[in-house]
């Protein structure tokens, strides 16, 4: 596929000073992008399969989401690889890394192979499987990490729960390091969250709902940081939602500990008060926290404590959400709203600039999963996201392309709209 995109305003990631970037980008002065055989190239005279006049749009390297649930195999009634990647394309994501809590669990090379095959067959954007750390995610025995790596995994996680014990986490970190894989840990101490289904606080007290304290997250974050320090190995903290976790990660980074972290739009936008009225669309783990947590997360995104924004896209069937609050499933459908929500709540108020979003959605996720994307590097596969910053739109969850209509943004007006999503030089989504 050969193409030319002109009148483009390219957004290059602004890195935090400690990060060394040796990517040879295409000429920053140009307002033209040339794609030859699906890859970026300095100059090309054509012929072109298509040309896009990007007047009025900004152009990002293709967005990467390191934390999605595509639900296939096993839970196709919630989402499948076809519908999930279509949702990704609508949201501007050109790459998604999918969590292993499918059925069967992605804890062996055969399931990894199945996901890769299905993605090649029906996937619309790049799908990068994440393997389970332990067999059946039970936290007892290591999964076949090496064989899964050969089959194509880009990271490891027992997402849905923490790697059960400090001992297992230690063994997994050491073993995974030989295969150059990082463990993405869902941080929650179940002995203290103890059945809590929303943030422990005034709202949970008044609603009479069992609360999960923010320290359920912090205790495991601290455990993982101490392990990373002791072993001098990397660890990645999934969906950070609390002030104390941000503080701990910041302090750890300052000491040179190899910890990275992500947060999700819901954790810098919503609070536990949004659960009032028993609104199950706001049920997620980690739960929506307090305004002071939001403030800390925004500062964390500004100063690089939090490296990236992921969605934790967790589609569920309507029957699993249109139910009593205590019985509803955790999670939000997030792929189609993440970029616009981040622009609306981070860039519009002036907390961040577009170049920061390019770091949070492109270059930093690439450093975690190392798939050779997320930049305008010469010769790299041409993944691009074109966005109209002036267009605003109202979220209608029933019109989402994901099978999971469980969006907490329903009815909200968001700024900025993805216009084109391009994967390997091919237009996979065009908003007309």
């Amino acid at each position: 596929m050969n193409a030319r995109i002109y009148n483009a305003k390219l957004i290059f990631p602004r890195e935090i000073s400690t990060v060394q970037s040796n990517i040879q980008n295409i000429n920053q002065e140009l307002s033209e992008i040339f794609i030859k055989d699906g890859c970026f190239t300095e100059a090309y005279d054509g012929p072109f399969d298509y040309e896009i006049d990007a007047e009025g749009m900004v152009v990002f390297p293709g967005l990467i989401d390191v934390h999605v649930h595509l639900r296939e195999p096993g839970f196709e009634y919630k989402e499948d690889i076809a519908s999930g990647t279509r949702a990704a394309a609508v949201g501007g994501f050109t790459s998604v890394a999918c969590m292993p809590n499918t059925n069967p669990i992605c804890d062996n090379a055969a399931v990894v192979g199945f996901i890769k095959e299905r993605a090649a067959e029906v996937g619309i954007v790049n799908v990068w499987p994440i393997g389970a750390v332990t067999k059946e995610q039970k936290g007892e025995q290591l999964a076949e990490i090496g064989l899964m790596k050969e089959a194509g995994i880009v990271a490891l996680s027992d997402d849905g729960a923490s790697v059960k014990t400090a001992d297992m986490m230690r063994k997994a970190m050491v073993y995974a390091a030989d295969f150059d894989l990082t463990i993405i840990d869902h941080c929650e101490d179940p002995t203290i969250s103890n059945g809590g289904i929303m943030n422990e606080g005034l709202a949970s007290t008044q609603m009479g709902v069992p609360g999960s304290p923010s320290i359920a997250e912090d205790i495991i974050v601290m455990r993982d940081i101490l392990l990373a320090d002791y072993l001098d190995l990397p660890v990645h903290i999934a969906h950070v939602s609390t002030k104390r976790s941000v503080q701990q990660i910041r302090a750890a980074k300052a000491r040179g500990i190899k910890v990275t972290a992500e947060t999700c739009p819901q954790y810098f936008i919503f609070t536990d008060d949004d659960c009032r009225g028993y609104n199950t669309l706001f049920r997620a783990y980690p739960p929506m926290r307090r305004p002071e947590d939001i403030a800390a997360i925004i500062v964390g995104l500004q100063d690089g404590t939090l490296d990236m924004i992921a969605t934790d896209h967790a589609p569920h069937h309507e029957d699993e959400k249109d139910i009593e609050f205590c019985l509803a499933k955790n999670g939000m459908s997030g792929l189609e709203t993440a970029f616009s929500a981040s622009y609306t709540y981070l860039v519009k108020p002036g907390y961040l600039q577009l170049e920061d979003l390019a770091r949070l959605f492109c270059s930093a996720p690439e450093r975690l999963i190392k798939v050779g994307r997320g930049s305008f590097a010469n010769g790299a596969p041409a993944d691009l996201t074109l966005i109209d910053l002036e267009q605003s739109w109202e979220v209608d969850r029933f019109k989402m392309v994901s099978k999971g209509k469980n969006s907490a943004f329903h009815g909200m007006t968001l700024n900025s709209k993805v216009k084109y999503t391009i994967v390997d030089g091919k237009i996979v989504y065009h908003d007309i």
């Binding site: 422990e200 606080g201 005034l202 949970s204 007290t205 008044q206 609603m207 009479g208 709902v209 069992p210 609360g211 304290p213 009225g277 028993y278 249109d322 139910i323 009593e324 609050f325 205590c326 019985l327």
Partner: protein, 314 residues
Amino acid sequence: MHLKSKDLLGIEQLSSKEICLILDTATTMKRVLSQPTKKTSHLQGKSVVNLFFENSTRTRMSFEMAAKYMGAASINISSSGSSVNKGETLLDTAVTIDMMATDFLVMRHRESGAAEFLAKRVNASVINAGDGMHEHPTQALLDVFTMRDKLGHLDKLKVAIIGDCLHSRVFRSNLLALTKLGSEVWVSGPASLMPLDVESTGARYTKHVEEAIQDADVVMSLRIQLERIEKGLFPSVNEYFRYYGLDDKKIKLAKKNALVMHPGPANRGVEINSALYESDRSVISEQVTNGVAVRMAVLYLLSLRRNIYERENL
């Protein structure tokens, strides 16, 4: 004046005026209960379904008697022996009941918010007879009715609520009702059984039970579930009674004519000793009678509200 909502989900949604309307109506209903012939025709031709997913004797009976005294057809469904055990969802069960032209759906459910969930989805008036740890509005209404009946007013009373506030819907509903009516609620009990932000709910908290009871107009003891010992929330019945159980010594700190209340059923010798339970100060038995009167008032006022609602929707 009418109730604003078709449902009674909690005290939270009621204004102080609405609460007073219910209490005034209950006064009339209590007179009905003291007559030799306790039949009225307020709810003639109406149907009341008591849908109870948790064990209850007094609340379920109280609603049933209230409905029957006013001429309504009332039936009881408990979770055992219903389709709920066959995997049918709460919503499906409720819609089925609703489609049988039910006027009132009285529900007790172990999950907080269950009544509110149903109210949005059925035509019947939903009355919350206790949802999880959230609210038990008719209990609070009968409690404040009892206080007003005995003390003559609800202005600036000091009400001490002692015990497991963390898990108690009775505490939550009473706190809301008393605060709205201008009284002050003090709470005390083991800190492990207090909600995290109890002070920001509007209650005054003290770790000294004696301070809570000091000069109180009303002392209400909450039922303690013995399973809480297994969960590690307090060590033993013996220790609980010693520090938090109501006895003659502690109650002497309260005002001379202070009322002793308990939502029932009480664990005698744990939350309250037998002598106090049966003493002149105790209004625990009267709370039961008042419960029927209050539930009659609620059913009656909601039926008036339904008449308007049905007319509007013709």
